[in-house]
């Protein structure tokens, strides 16, 4: 085991990370993408601590989003896509919450959201692009005037402007930067100096972390810093942007974590089967969130057979031959 002591007071439990760094009403950027590297441990802890009125910002999510929405922690979302691919083409609790008016949604495209986080990470107030002219994505505003211009929500969802360098008419879409209160990242490795390494696709985790006021990183392993610093080209975030480091083996389960484990089709299918029904979902929360006070308890419930089943082949990064029906 690496020398975690040098992480100092950044090393903490999920309970402490959520208690110290997330408060009701916060704008939270979820790392990962649909069925991959979702910050599930922090998501479940947020539910256990009963956080309310959260404002989720993301591109395409995902299991953590659906769970947080279903548990009633979320009041507002800005996103491009809510689902988990074939396991739930539309997020099950997300759909219900939108249809019932339980949450307010502001739709953007994935490129829009990517650029908004990029702008936030570069301290740019806004960013122009050419996606979505004349679409309802830009013309319909999900957040009403009572929300617009309050807190971190800009007065305008987007503005159609002009390219000031063009000689002729050249419209552009102007998008406001995003600077969430908290970014949640699940990584494979954190060095005992706080250096973060994500393997496989980084999605938008880097831009999300850089754009946020606070960053919580859960990880599969804490490793000696020198092992990461021997090939620093591969590292993802520097220590001084990270507020909390939370070691959580299988921390993204039931979503995947490249080179560690695949997504868990059995769990995702089970979730789909029960989550559509309000009672079924309540039982799911009771069994899989409230009744379990630690990742150890959670993994015990998942069971060794499942964990071995989804274990990633160390060369290809996923679980070849996994029954994914």
């Amino acid at each position: 085991m690496a020398n975690c002591a040098t992480l100092g007071d950044k090393l903490m439990s999920p309970e402490e990370a959520v208690r110290r760094f997330i408060k009701d009403g916060d704008m939270i950027a979820l790392g990962g993408f649909t069925v991959n590297r979702n910050p599930m441990v922090i998501g479940r802890e947020i539910i256990r601590q009963g956080k309310k009125d959260l404002h989720l910002v993301m591109h395409s999510h995902g299991q953590a989003m659906d769970l947080l929405v279903g548990a009633g922690c979320v009041a507002r979302l800005e996103l491009a896509y809510g689902g988990t691919g074939r396991f739930a083409p539309t997020g099950i609790r997300f759909r219900k919450a939108v249809q019932s008016g339980q949450v307010k949604v502001e739709d953007y495209s994935n490129f829009h959201m990517s650029l908004r986080f990029l702008a936030g990470s570069l301290n740019l107030p806004y960013i122009p692009c050419r996606s979505g002219f004349a679409s309802d994505v830009l013309q319909q505003w999900g957040f009403g005037p009572e929300l617009r211009g309050t807190g971190k929500i800009p007065r305008d969802k987007a503005i159609i402007g002009q390219n000031p360098f063009a000689q002729e008419d050249d419209p552009v879409v102007l998008l406001p930067a995003l600077n969430p209160d908290v970014a949640l990242v699940h990584a494979q490795y954190v060095g005992d100096d706080g250096t973060v390494r994500i393997k496989g696709l980084t999605f938008l985790d880097v831009e999300q972390a850089k754009s946020a006021d606070r960053v919580i990183v859960t990880c599969e392993e804490i490793v000696p810093a020198h092992t990461l610093r021997e090939d620093p080209d591969q590292n993802t975030l520097p220590p001084f942007l990270i507020d909390a480091v939370v070691p959580t083996p299988y921390g993204a389960h039931p979503t995947a974590c490249h080179y560690f484990y695949d997504y868990d089709p059995r769990h995702l299918n089970y979730y789909r089967a029960v989550a559509g029904d309000d009672d079924g979902f309540r039982r799911y929360l009771d069994e899989w969130v409230y009744a379990l006070d630690s990742q150890e308890a959670y993994l015990t419930k998942v069971g060794a057979a499942d964990l071995i089943n989804i274990r990633a082949n160390t060369k290809v990064g996923y679980a070849p031959g996994l029954d994914r029906r």
Binding site: N110, S114, D136, L201
Partner: protein, 258 residues
């Protein structure tokens, strides 16, 4: 002897035939994965498949079930992230072709993957536009998969998630788009294209055994079927590759034909 095939099989093959060798294919999952992969194996070996999540040209020894499936990150020429992936999708040097699906489509190829009913209080909520809005806005071209149903081919979509030819004619260019737009709609009955000037959808090909009128009847707006011709049936080679190499577990293809 006539070969039997399922709707999904002929859709994947019909869309795959629209791919040119060297195209850069922006794939979702489901049918688009099959279309892209079968095209690479049949006639477009230099086509490159990439995903909005950042995986570029994966080996795809197993089919991914989501664009963030770890299977899109293996054996790639590059793993990056969304910013990189979209920089390729919209790259002005590249002939990028995107495969999209939707809940509704209108005569000008505008699609809805967001909601039915009023956006503020939707009757049915779908996942949202994802990267489809960006592909329709800035890819070189787009191929759309649809079920041929009246409720999906509508005069006016409830919400334009991803802008096609807008109101037709030069509306798209006037709105600010520099290139792109949908060039084909592949359904379980045939393939539609868009009129060169008016940009209104027309029937281009009907599959063997399907009548143009049947397609018009399954369309919620007036569809010109006058230019339609019969599509080539899937060849045995195409079906063999699709079934044995692309999706041997039939994760996406579903049951074999009866």
């Amino acid at each position: 002897m006539s070969t039997t095939y399922t709707d999904k099989e002929i859709m994947a093959l019909a869309a795959g035939r629209l791919v040119s060798n060297g195209d850069i294919l922006f794939a979702g999952t489901g049918l688009s994965m099959l279309a892209a992969t079968v095209a690479k194996r049949v006639h477009a070996p230099q086509a490159v498949v990439f995903f909005e999540t950042g995986g570029i040209d994966p080996t795809l020894e197993e089919l991914p079930l989501a664009v963030a499936d770890p299977r899109v990150m293996t054996g790639t020429c590059m793993n990056s992230g969304l910013i990189d992936a979209f920089s390729l999708l919209i790259h002005r040097r590249l002939r990028t072709i995107a495969f999209l699906g939707a809940a509704q489509i209108d005569p000008y190829g505008n699609i809805n993957s967001t909601c039915l009913g009023d956006y503020q209080k939707p009757r049915v909520r779908f996942p949202g536009c994802g990267g489809a809005c960006d592909a329709m806005s800035q890819a070189f071209g787009v191929i759309i998969f649809m079920q041929q149903e009246k409720k999906r081919f509508v005069e006016k979509v409830d919400y334009i998630s991803s802008p096609g030819w807008l109101t037709g004619g030069d509306a798209r260019a006037k709105a600010g788009f520099k290139r792109g737009g949908p060039f084909a709609v592949v359904t379980n009955q045939g393939v539609m294209r868009f009129h060169e000037q008016t940009k209104r959808m027309y029937l281009h090909e009907y599959y063997p055994g399907v009548s143009p009128q049947a397609i018009a009847d399954n369309c919620g707006f007036a569809l010109d079927v006058g230019r339609a011709r019969e599509a080539q049936a899937p060849s045995e080679v195409e079906l063999k590759i699709l079934r044995e190499e692309v999706d041997p577990c039939r994760l996406i293809l579903g049951p074999l034909p009866a």
